[in-house]
Amino acid sequence: MKISVEDVRYIAKLAKLSISFEQAQKMVKEFEGILTHFESIGRLDLGDAQPEPLERDSGTVLREDETSVFEDKKKLFLNTKSISDSYIEVPKIIE
């Protein structure tokens, strides 16, 4: 399958990735090879095959919400970049 640098950059944008023109050029070649291989599935006659949902236990897969006290609050904040009082500070997200 033929694709262009613009196609690759558009997909990168959808995927929330920024790539340079040179990276996009390299990816065009790689993607063409991979997507050509993927096309093999289009040649199969799958007739009326239906994608099936994953098998699960009978009954609902949802469980009741349960609250519990997380004793070690420090542990919860270990991965945050910044804390102000008891709040997690994140970069400004409303512009």
Partner: protein, 487 residues
Amino acid sequence: MSIHEMTAFEIRKGIVKRQFSARDVVTAFFDRIYEKEPLVDGFLTLCREEALTKAEQIDRKIQRGEQLGKLGGIPIAVKDNICTDGIRTTCASRMLHDFIPPYDATVVKRLKEADAVIIGKTNMDEFAMGSSTENSAFKNTKNPWDREIVPGGSSGGSAAVVSAGMAALALGSDTGGSIRQPAAFCGVVGLKPTYGLVSRFGLIAFGSSLDQIGPLAKNIKDSALALEAIQGKDKYDSTSVRHSITKDYMSTIESSVKGMKIGVPVEFFDSGLDEEIAFSIKGCIKKLKEIGAFVEDISLPITEEGLSAYYIISSAEASSNLGRFDGLRYGYRTKDYSSLDQLVERSRSEGFGEEVKRRIMLGTFALSSGYYDAYYSTAQKLRARIKEQFIKVFENYDILLSPVSPVLPFKIGEKVANPLEMYLSDIYTVNINLAGLPAISMPCGISNTGLPIGLQIIGPHFGEEKLFKAAYALEQELKPTAMHPML
């Protein structure tokens, strides 16, 4: 025999019989790690202090005459995409280089309940995407059999540390062969359980409908022992199952395979399979016939197309699962940004490695408007067809035999420049994940160049008991435990 050479069973037995203490075991394994880890680079994090504390708890249990858990005192390494409370869990990615989970994955909780001793976290391909562990953001793990050779992937660190005697057991995860292929490359036993048998809660997701956690072990009995400890329903994973679970594999593992019906898919032996691997597997078929199994050729016609379906579905799921890494709440955040879009894009672009970005983009493409039907939808239909095909085959056969990899373990750097070639090396393992079946990879020979060769045994859904039975019988014939790398 040194403690690090013992199997998990022998270690537990030795502790129970007070031949040595759990502390002796941990000390012996860390001595081995300090000596050999610089040669192998299998670990990302070591947990010596935590391991010694746990060992002392176990020794106190023994002194009090209390019953020891199933994995009592056994040193185990855990792949670094499985969350460990208070221990860094990186997925071998810059994105999570400083991530410390505030909770244990269910499998880790079960290991601890079974008195296992966690000794460290192992290297892997970033976010489990790869077949050689070369996609780790931190280091290249070397194959203990030949340090110029890859250990396989993505659970390459787990396979290498078991093979090198630096852990008695390890956990890995398998989305398209990531336990079985490194097990084959490093000469150990790797089990991918039936989808739903082992909880995925706390496993950092790659392809949620395909991922499954399983053990890497020195032999078949150790593998069964580890599965008994980690399997079972978990309310935090809605895809884990309550029914169809065999609780005890040990009572049947030594029973005869006489009369067992074994199918060999002819498509798995087409051109493209290394001749030495084919020769070794034919040797296994001969052995199984000699001990009374009934073996015949069968046909599984859509093997090759399954590889495409696998890469489409797993990449699509990865593009969705990895959407959560945005640099806002945790994980890597770029230093240089002036808008929200820029913050997210730059954090992701700097935090993810090349292969992860490639898979996210392939998945985004397969799900995008105009291509969804041709790629994702067709792949899902093909997946259903593959599953039907396997279920039909298992109406007449107990297990199937196949190679694990079409090629022998390859050199570090050999396939890095060609991603498609790397993907093609997964051809015999991915269909098993698409169908949700269990499969075990076990050593079955050594190549002329001195590298291990693996055999794959595939079973019906929840047919782990049959896998262990056949694999154990074959192991007794082949005696592969006598093979170990000269490090």
